[in-house]
Chain length 400, copies 2
């Protein structure tokens, strides 16, 4: 090979994307005819609502042309309408919104817009536990990634008071994610406001991954957005990242949007035009249908709330503790004390029951006493595997 | 705004993507009810073959899941079959091929895999005239872009003998594009072999943009690929970039693939998994249908050959010279001597006839005596506007 020693060193040092490792184990077990109940990958199996699929099919033009870089005016209007209904704010479709291909690529690319690798102010704070892409994107853009361990004692809410002043001055941006993957933690408006004041004081940009914002259980407190907090300040120093993947069962469509401070949206548009990241028009049309509707979102949330209830009851009965949450579709459990490590627990569980959970340390070393369950199997499958687990507990084959 | 002075300096210095500027002028003229004949944007208006559209519609799963990062096994097999038929080479679908979302994003991203910004060996050669993304992607990855002016006297073929040895040692990669956008120039296998020998000697990676490889006129010489040249050498130091945009009228679908040295494909896969660049499955299914068929490609090429003939006859009659070409759908004309600059010519042409052509300098300052016409309007529209142009020439209103 040409230049192996010359290759981009960050890439060589990068871990494989953690969540995909399990696929091998799964294939192996399935080859042995052992049924696997996979709670690892955040890719729910509830069907995409048929009206969304229909919107795509009906909008494939005979003549295919390059998609608009910003997203069509129709899509941006639709996102703006959603924000008006959901957050009671006005986003100008021509200034505050840009289409993205899901939120992952936008999360990865945005540091390349915000960071200057020659500047002293290039630290990017990211939460631990958290989505690995915050760190990877920071490194590639020449930023300095700085893990902020979220504390159970603070309900996994970021506390700016923990950041020393001399660090704060060098921070370019902070990644936040509420409702939080992987814990399901939520944040209050009051807590958001404190973080926003701190960010403005140190001229820090808030990058708010809000792809689970609509994934909350009915009748509970509605998760807030940093767009609400910064609305009266023209969204200064704020970008929020939204996605249809989880909200509307569209992981395979790759559609989302980014909204916030207009100057940065405009720079991001300039950047994205050079990269060639336009979303295919027919996918944008499906996205319009999805953002325009809330009924299917409520229905999906009911399904996840129901799954959560089944797990909670099982955990309560067996004295396994987990962070209470009314949002996302993740359950963040504590590894029982009888296990030395999170991996020992997840391996034992897999061997005894076929249940696959993600060891917490995948989301950061400080989380090695936790595990994550994504509520992906159907409620029937969840009941089935919990019965299996219960039998193994009752027989003493699985220790707790 | 947060950090304007701290922003990524390359982005602030980057030109807006040149080819989109014309949209404003066009809207203005159309508002004045002046018919515009747009030969600027390389986005043909021939419909996508209906069997491709059908393949997409029939393959939208009810349950939407994350797309595979490499592209499905089916798609990679299909690309491999195409290569076997078209290039008489064997690409291993599991090692030599990865799906991309069109070729633009792959062209932009690949330097982030190949370059080490801390290395002395980080020059990237790109052709002038050429696609602006080669340079933008190089800059972002911390490489040193180095324009290589292609010479009319050498039929716009890259000549490694022009590169001084002391530069060659510091070159990480060279971008080539044959059939060539914007000139339509082609390259022979013999010329490719010489370039490949030079690249191996200096351990330089060849990045070959071959998105026009199937866009040649029937009965003419068939454009070669660097994959053919490097086949017996396990594609060492070679990546070729392919796209369905032009070949199959699918610009809006965003689908292509990259093939070549397996170690680099594997690193690119690792990189892309972190960025989240998987191609939606239903688009991959449409891509399979497209790569599996050659009939529609022959038919499309006939249409472009026909358009080219009409232009060639008009140019010959009026003694406007253009580079002869049997490939791409571009015409690379010489600005008549009576015009001081390419922009003066294109403005005069637009004002007199409504015909929009791209001034050569958009593709590099050294090309300011040229203009490019993309054969995008229908042949009827081309005939209509050339008649208009002829009248203005005959009446003396348009000087040549």
């Amino acid at each position: 090979m040409a230049n192996l020693n010359e290759f981009n060193s960050w890439l060589l040092s990068l871990n494989p994307f953690g969540l995909t490792k399990n696929e091998e184990i799964k294939s192996k077990l399935e080859a042995q005819k052992i049924e696997v109940f996979d709670f690892t990958l955040g890719d729910p199996k509830e069907p995409t609502p048929s009206f969304i699929k229909k919107a795509l099919i009906e909008n494939i033009d005979d003549i295919s042309q390059y998609p608009s870089n910003m997203g069509s005016a129709l899509l941006r209007k639709s996102c703006s309408n959603w924000a008006k209904k959901r957050l009671a704010i006005e986003l100008n479709p021509d200034q505050h919104i840009i289409s993205s291909n899901g939120s992952k690529e936008a999360v990865f690319h945005i540091p390349q817009v915000l960071l200057n690798s020659a500047s002293d102010k290039r630290i990017v704070i990211f939460p631990e536990p958290g989505y690995p892409v915050y760190k990877a994107g920071t490194i590639l853009a020449g930023g300095i990634p700085y893990a902020n361990p979220l504390k159970k004692s603070k309900n996994y809410v970021f506390d700016p008071a923990e950041i020393p002043n001399e660090i704060a001055n060098k921070i370019a941006a902070v990644w936040l994610c509420y409702p939080h993957n992987p814990t399901g933690a939520i944040i209050s408006k009051n807590q958001m406001e404190k973080i926003y004041d701190w960010a403005l004081k140190y001229n820090i940009f808030i990058l708010s991954d809000e792809c689970y914002l609509d994934m909350y259980y009915e009748g509970q407190e509605i998760p807030p957005s940093f767009l609400e907090i910064s609305y009266k300040n023209n969204f200064k120093n704020v970008l929020s990242f939204f996605s249809l993947s989880k909200r509307s069962g569209m992981t395979g469509y790759r559609s989302g949007f980014v909204a916030g401070e207009k100057e940065v949206i405009s720079l991001f548009a300039k950047y994205r035009l050079n990269v060639g990241l336009g979303t295919p028009d027919f996918i944008q049309k499906a996205a319009v249908a999805a953002w325009d509707d809330t009924e299917h979102v409520v229905e999906r949330s009911r399904i996840f709330a129901n799954k959560r209830k089944v797990i909670d009851q099982f955990f309560e009965k067996n004295k396994i503790s987990a962070l209470p949450s009314n949002a996302t579709f993740y359950v963040w459990g504590d590894v029982p004390n009888s296990y030395k490590t999170d991996k020992e627990f997840s391996d034992a569980l897999l061997n005894a029951t076929g249940i696959m959970v993600t060891p917490g340390s995948i989301f950061g070393e400080s989380c090695n006493r936790n595990f994550r369950m994504a509520l992906v199997p159907t409620v029937e499958k969840i009941q089935e595997c919990l019965q299996k687990w219960q039998l193994k507990i009752d027989s003493g084959e699985f220790k707790l």
